[in-house]
């Protein structure tokens, strides 16, 4: 289900592998899981249900080929959507299994927050995704799920996403005076500072990092097309009003 007008970059196809295995003998023990149409339909129906109840916040709903339901919402709707999924009788996603972030620097809102919920009553999982900026604060989910406490501290520490109304937002993994947000894509692998024990001053000193070998940048792009299923139509230059159409040679 896609909201009309919303661009949907995800058109998950069905995996071709595993379909050659005959169901009779080896189907039940197949190495690769068979495509489960029933679960897929149930999840899409539930996704439509959620989108119908919360049209104010839900921007997109998608079900992956591995039968994972994802609800993409506006950041204002974090608390309403999470509370709805936790308290509503048909949802009851009482468990926050995971909360993480993804950094995609090319986007306007570079960070994508991912909430993974589990319903024990109905034995299903659901994923709620929002987006965030470096500077815009996002509402904390701690009032809904206590488990979000340390996860949000980790996201603040590693990415720099500020959570408003968090009871105790401080660093959790980096060193005490550490500057920078290590999981951002523009933060180098070896970092900026390294520490060593200096015998002259008899203490640990922090110095700019010195690598034995200079940084080598590899071009990891393969010459072949990576995702043939997700080809984009080539962009033709749009004509502004008043321009003449370029003459065809």
């Amino acid at each position: 289900w896609r909201r009309p007008g919303a661009y949907c970059g995800l058109s998950w196809g069905r995996p071709e592998r595993g379909r050659g295995v005959s169901r009779g003998q080896a189907g039940a023990r197949a190495t690769v899981k068979h495509w489960d149409e029933v679960t897929h339909k149930q999840l899409s129906a539930f996704g439509e249900y959620v989108a119908e109840i919360l049209p104010k916040y839900v921007q997109q709903v998608q079900v992956s080929c591995f039968n994972e339901l994802e609800i993409c919402i506006h950041p204002d709707g974090i608390i309403p959507v999470l509370t709805f999924l936790k308290d509503h009788t048909n949802a009851q996603f009482k468990s926050l299994a995971d909360l993480g972030a993804v950094d995609v620097p090319t986007r306007q809102n570079r960070f994508e927050l991912v909430y993974n919920l589990l319903s024990l009553r109905f034995n299903t999982r659901i994923r709620v995704k929002t987006y965030a900026d470096e500077l815009t604060p996002v509402e904390s989910a701690v009032s809904v799920h206590k488990a979000a406490n340390w996860y949000e501290r980790e996201i603040w520490d590693m990415f720099g996403v500020f959570f408003a109304n968090h009871p105790d937002l401080r660093r959790i993994l980096t060193d005490y005076g550490f500057e920078g947000h290590p999981f951002r894509k523009d933060f180098p692998l070896s970092g900026y500072i390294e520490v060593r024990y200096d015998d002259e001053v008899k203490r640990v000193v922090a110095e700019p990092v010195e690598l034995a070998q200079e940084f080598r940048k590899f071009d990891l792009n393969s010459p072949w097309e990576a995702f043939p299923a997700f080809r984009q139509p080539p962009e033709s230059p749009k004509l502004e009003a008043g321009d003449k159409k370029p003459e065809a040679k």
Binding site: Y7, K56, T83, T89, Q92, N109, K129
Partner: protein, 109 residues
């Protein structure tokens, strides 16, 4: 056979459940009639309320409801009531607050 060791009797629990469901329905009255949340929650609540009204035997009621034990059903009704009240402030049935920026949800890039 459920032994009467609990501090509340079955009758008290059923009355509490009926009270909670009627409170939920009252809270839903304040939501506009065309809202999907109101429609679906009223449907669920009325179904459960009718089942509770008909069936007085505890075990049979739990089997009919298929929602775990009676105490769990009561907890769920309390949650639904809190949710209905919060929904009144949030008003999620309104149209989308803001469209995402172009390519926000595009994957793979």
């Amino acid at each position: 056979m459920k032994e009467e060791k609990t501090k509340h009797s079955t009758f008290e629990k059923l009355t509490r459940l009926k009270l909670l469901y009627s409170k939920i329905l009252d809270a839903l009255e304040l939501i506009p009639a065309n809202a999907a949340y109101r429609k679906y929650t009223e449907q669920i609540t009325n179904e459960r309320l009718n089942m509770v009204k008909e069936e007085t035997d505890l075990q049979k009621l739990e089997d009919k409801l298929q929602a775990g034990q009676l105490e769990e059903v009561i907890l769920q009704a309390e949650n639904e009531l809190l949710l209905a009240r919060k929904m009144l402030t949030w008003k999620p049935w309104e149209p989308l607050v803001e469209e995402p920026p172009a390519n926000q949800w595009k994957w793979p890039l």
